[in-house]
Symmetry: C7
Subunit: 94 residues, 7 copies
Amino acid sequence: MQLRRILIDVLKPHDPSIIVYAEKLAALKCVDGVNILVVEIDDKTESIGVTIEGGSLNFNSIEKVIEKLGGSIHSVDMVSAGSHVVEAASEESG
Amino acid sequence: MQLRRILIDVLKPHDPSIIVYAEKLAALKCVDGVNILVVEIDDKTESIGVTIEGGSLNFNSIEKVIEKLGGSIHSVDMVSAGSHVVEAASEESG
Amino acid sequence: MQLRRILIDVLKPHDPSIIVYAEKLAALKCVDGVNILVVEIDDKTESIGVTIEGGSLNFNSIEKVIEKLGGSIHSVDMVSAGSHVVEAASEESG
Amino acid sequence: MQLRRILIDVLKPHDPSIIVYAEKLAALKCVDGVNILVVEIDDKTESIGVTIEGGSLNFNSIEKVIEKLGGSIHSVDMVSAGSHVVEAASEESG
Amino acid sequence: MQLRRILIDVLKPHDPSIIVYAEKLAALKCVDGVNILVVEIDDKTESIGVTIEGGSLNFNSIEKVIEKLGGSIHSVDMVSAGSHVVEAASEESG
Amino acid sequence: MQLRRILIDVLKPHDPSIIVYAEKLAALKCVDGVNILVVEIDDKTESIGVTIEGGSLNFNSIEKVIEKLGGSIHSVDMVSAGSHVVEAASEESG
Amino acid sequence: MQLRRILIDVLKPHDPSIIVYAEKLAALKCVDGVNILVVEIDDKTESIGVTIEGGSLNFNSIEKVIEKLGGSIHSVDMVSAGSHVVEAASEESG
């Protein structure tokens, strides 16, 4: 079934910037939109959170774009799949 | 009566990834959508929170998919059943 | 006047699961929907928060279902009654 | 002018339950809906927060119902009156 | 230009109650709705937060009602004026 | 391009009150609405947060009104400009 | 693909004010709206958070405007690209 939304934690050199990452990922046919948030900046690298949405995401092509730009996927932290996007239910009441 | 939403706590080896879990669960006929959140990562396993929504969820088939992928259901933390999805009422005011 | 929503604190043995509780409660004629949240898990028992909504809830039949399944109502923590569901007003401003 | 919403702090013996309070208050002609939240449980009494909404609430008849059931109004903590319900403005920005 | 919403901090004796304050203020021609919240209760007095909304509030008539009931305006903590009600902007980001 | 919203920090003597400030600012042609929040009250002065919205705000005329009333602009803390009002993006995730 | 929203951290001298920055940035053809928030004020400089939205933002022209006004981009903290604006997914549940 279709992968609708994915949140991945990526480690990348400072260059190219997250603007390039966002533009290249958004250019993928399977991708509707991308949000990139800088989570931590170190001396030579930065850790970024990449949220990608689409009707049917192709993880392999996403991974390829990221690696081609010099980044590496550290972890996949959240995914949504199915005919509609499901939010994570909270274990807290109301 | 119909089970509409369920939140389960699953322990799994790192492989296969949560992408595979989400795709396989979303492929079930009774499932409309799935959200998987990584809660904790250990050396060989990870703990994930799986939220599943559907018109009438079949818990047995959900459990089978998870076990077939090598995961085990640690607990069922929340369920909603009935003609509409009820949110947990808060014991806090306003 | 009609009881519209109720939040009850139930103590139950681990078995049957909250899935069974939700399905049996949602099967009551007076019930539109049920949400069950696991609040605390002990060695032999668990404490659950049960939110039930309906057009005119019958507390006796709800209590019977819970007791038949081996649970006991520890307390009724919130109720709403009337022609529409009223949320608890907050004593905090805005 | 019409009293639209009121939040009262009531001290009551455990019996009758808040379900009876909610039903009796909701049965008043001036009342559209009632929410009762248990705030504190002591040995012989409990403190409850009662939110009542209506087109034009009659405080005397509300007070009578509560006293007839054995409860006593400890304080009136919030009221709204006028042609529409006004929420409390916050002294915090945005 | 029109004063649309005002939040005032009032010190009053316990009697008359905030219900009377709300009803008298809501009875003013310029007032659409009133919310009164009890902020602090002391031995002989209480401090209340009074939020008043209207198309074009007349502060003098509001002040007169409060003083006639034995209360005194301690401070005006928030006002909105203009052709529409503006919320306070936050200095915190999104 | 048009200035749509502005948040300014103003220091003023207690007199005239924020009601007068709000009315005078809202009377400016370029202003649609004003919100004033008292942030801190000192012996002789008070610090207020003034949020002003309009289709095309004229900062000079705003400043003139404030200075004429005896206040001084301590800082401009937030501005929005453009064809629509943009909220500040959060550096925190969702 | 189109850059839709960007959050940049800019260091600038106190003069010109953020009003000028907002007006100049909003005047760019690619920009629909700008929000500027003062994050920290130092002796000679201030740190500001600039959120810019548009159908297809041109980062170079944005950078030029900022540098021409004497500011320097310290970091790009968030970007959104694609056919619709994606919010950052939270790693926290619901």
